[in-house]
């Protein structure tokens, strides 16, 4: 930290046995935080340079979580150098559960027969953003993946993220149906899974006399 900290803070740090280092003014290379910023920027820009050219550069911020994740895997923990920084904080990362791919990789999504005409291609090609641990199984080149993952898939035509409807029609629909059931149960008066409910909503009939005004959402 900077060399202008107060005497009280120094005393408090010493009393609580917290190690600290003071850096001389105007010399950033002696400041650990500044050095860490430089390392992250180099790493992140390298990942950004490897993105598919069709990925909108305006979406760069969505790649930050994966940049943080991969960088923390590459650097060692200072407290326990035999572990990565990620492993020291969060534990072992399961690459089987959440495989990683280069950021901004171009993928294909299988379109169901009910959602396309018979003579158009069987897949659509959106742009995928790979962040922290996510990837859509239907968009993966390997058709059988062991665990369901959320989609952070952007439609190439609309530029929008895929919706709950596409999740409910994906190979992992059972997981998302249960998640949706839990959410409705949490808001209402429970569901068959025994979720803790908050009784925030009631399902009512339209003609129960309560509704005076409704707007389509």
């Amino acid at each position: 930290m900077g060399n202008e900290i107060s005497g009280e803070l120094k005393t408090a740090l010493a009393k609580n046995k917290i190690d600290y280092q003071l850096t001389p003014p105007h010399i950033h290379r002696r400041n650990t935080a500044e050095r860490a910023i430089r390392t992250f920027k180099n790493h992140f820009l390298a990942g950004l340079a490897s993105c598919n050219p069709k990925l909108s550069i305006a979406e760069w911020d969505r790649l930050i979580p994966q940049g943080v994740l991969t960088l923390n895997h590459l650097i060692h923990s200072r407290i326990k150098p035999n572990l990565s920084a990620f492993a020291y904080i969060y534990g072992i990362f399961d690459f089987n559960t959440t495989p990683l791919a280069p950021p901004g990789t171009r993928v294909v999504i299988h379109e169901k027969p009910s959602q396309r005409n018979s003579l158009i291609p069987r897949v659509k090609v959106p742009l995928k953003r790979m962040n922290k641990t996510t990837e859509h199984p239907a968009a993966h080149f390997i058709p059988t993946v062991p665990f369901p993952r959320v989609n952070h898939i952007y439609n190439e035509k609309t530029g929008k993220r895929e919706t709950i409807d596409s999740l409910l029609n994906s190979p992992t629909r059972d997981v998302w149906i249960r998640a949706l059931s839990n959410e409705w149960g949490r808001l209402a008066q429970g569901n068959n899974e025994g979720v803790i409910y908050q009784d925030a909503i009631d399902f009512i009939a339209k003609n129960n006399g309560d509704i005076t005004y409704a707007q389509c959402l």
Binding site: Y90, I164, A179, S181, E183, A188, F203, I211
Partner: protein, 190 residues
Amino acid sequence: MHNVCDHRPLKSVPWRVRIVVGGDRLSYPDDPTSPSCGLLETKIILNSAISDAKRGVRFCTVELKDHFLGSPMQRLEYMKVPFARFPSDIVQRYNLDALKTEDGYIYIRIKKGMYGLKQAALLAYDNIVNILEPHGYYPEPNTQEIWAHKTKSIRFCVCVDDFSIKYFVTIHMNEDWSNKKEKNVCGKII
């Protein structure tokens, strides 16, 4: 209404769906803004705790689980949701087939604060005030969101449902913040 889906692998339930009300399409006649602490109040509490370290101060953070959904709402709101958005077990449990309209919607009465409502933050704040004031807590004058206790040496700042609490006596803390009644009123304290 909008469904927000996410995968949070470090949470107990990794696959999450949150139903968010389209508050931008609902009107609210009053001012929905609510007091909320900023970085200044947070730093004041932290610096105060550091300065009182030699006096044996303690510091903890508290989060109220599902606090938004536990905030009662006087002015009810309504929304309609396409019938196809309901899983089959919810349809059976609440007999939604009987409630379905001809154009395929289910009407819903919102009784408590929900994500997306304009007034949700204000409801959450009012709920916290109603819970804390009977226990002797009051907002410090001339501050945005720093609270203190009339007799106990406890001070905290609150941002919606996250508390940063500075205290001296553990018994005081346990008396007020581990109460089962509070858990029922404002959700589970974690």
